[in-house]
Amino acid sequence: MSKHPITLTINGQEYNLYVADHHTLLQVMRDQLDLTEVKYGCGRGECGACSVLVDDEKEASGRKAIDSCLALAVTMDGKKITTSRGLGENGQLNSVQQAFVEESGIQCGFCTPGMVVKATSLLEKNPNATEEEIRFGLEGNICRCTGYVKIVDSIKKAQKVINKK
């Protein structure tokens, strides 16, 4: 089996790894690093449960959301990655996560880690997003419980909190 040595920085922690060429970033995070907050939903980029943020200096916010099931771990060598676990600072939830709790944007919880990651990225890119833009931005994240209303409400609440800061 062909393998490559890589370095990933996930939620601020550096990991030096030896990964199989055909393993995805999602597989490595869940099976090698026990970062099980990143969920396996569909494995083909449709549900967004495995969404993570990857650093990209060309983005205004410095990072962008991708599906970790569609990225080979080896091609992520040297990248800084943030999962839902790393969104907040000092053990605190970030504004999006806090709003999901307060507005009941969570039911079964399976989509939530991907949802809060994407929502955070959405507000970083467009702090004044309209409801339509929020819904458009969530097109890659499927929730089978809430009907999305509470999720959109949560993001609007987070938006108010962030814009007040």
Partner: protein
């Protein structure tokens, strides 16, 4: 049965330059798959379709650019993501069909990974950027062991997932000419949900002067084994004022030029009924 959760094994090659990638292609030929964003390669991989070698372009610097100049037109690098093309101000202003085909492709996460060049090179009959670029007109620039070669998109799609790319060639960029005076374009598609592949897509690029259509390029996808041009319809439009009666003739001309099939996304019947309507709306949108 391959597991749909785990990719089959392959050897990943990571060239750091186009020349190095070409060398690898020369060695492995059809045993190698070229991977840009990976959003298609990985999905087909989980379905068991993968080659022994995968050549990732992720380490090649300088091929993710989107650049426009009046003389050179638009140049889209092999690693330029769908989102990057959709965010580009020149693309938004001058190439509405291309903009839309990139901006609504897949999901936001997929647009951050997948590339416009990959969408064309994969040559799926339902490719949205492929449809838009066939209508606008473009050239695909290849590098191979015999040097550089440019292929017009008109000659690129040969049959179902079959293209004019030689097995040892790497598509490094797509060139789109600067819009002519009076050139307008539009793109539309029909899907069940936004992230679905198109049941039908249509793109038009028209040069209109004082209400008269001087020239037309019309492309449709998912209605034939490859993305096609509707040349009979183009001839109907040429030299005409785009009025109600011309639009009726256009609508009537579509079914004879397409050969849709029944598949998981739609039926031949539906595609035959809806394609003319989608094309009419796309033309109306372009000239609006």
């Amino acid at each position: 049965m391959p597991s749909s959760r785990i990719l089959p094994e392959f050897e990943l090659l990571l060239p750091e330059s186009v020349a190095e990638a070409v060398k690898m292609l020369k060695k492995h030929k059809a045993d190698a798959t070229i991977m840009a964003g990976g959003t298609d390669v990985i999905v087909s991989g989980t379905q068991g379709f993968i080659t022994p070698y995968v050549i990732s372009l992720s380490k090649i610097k300088g091929i993710d650019t989107v650049k426009f100049s009046k003389t050179g037109g638009l140049r889209i690098g092999a690693m330029a993501t769908l989102q990057k093309v959709a965010d580009d101000k020149d693309v938004q202003k001058m190439y509405p069909a291309l903009f839309k085909s990139a901006a609504i492709n897949g999901t936001p996460q997929i647009r951050n990974m997948g590339t416009v060049v990959g969408n064309v090179l994969r040559a799926s009959p339902s490719g949205d950027c492929a449809c838009a670029l066939l209508a606008i007109g473009a050239k695909i620039v290849f590098e191979g062991p015999r040097g550089k070669r440019e292929v017009s998109i008109d000659d690129f799609f040969i049959d179902y997932k079959k293209t004019a790319r030689k097995v040892d060639e790497l598509a490094v960029e797509i060139k789109v000419p600067a819009p002519k005076k009076g050139e307008v374009s539009a793109f539309n598609r029909i899907t069940r949900t936004t992230l679905d592949l198109s049941k039908i897509n249509a793109a038009v690029s028209l040069v209109v002067e004082k209400g008269v259509c001087k020239s037309a390029r019309i492309a449709m996808g998912a209605v034939a084994p490859k993305t096609i041009r509707l040349t009979d319809t183009e001839k109907l439009l040429k030299g005409q004022k785009i009025t109600g009666s011309i639009l009726e003739a256009i609508v009537a001309s579509v079914v004879g030029q397409i050969s849709p099939i029944d598949d998981v996304r739609s039926t031949a019947d539906y595609r035959n009924q809806v394609s003319p309507v989608l094309l009419r709306r796309t033309i109306e949108e372009a000239i609006a």
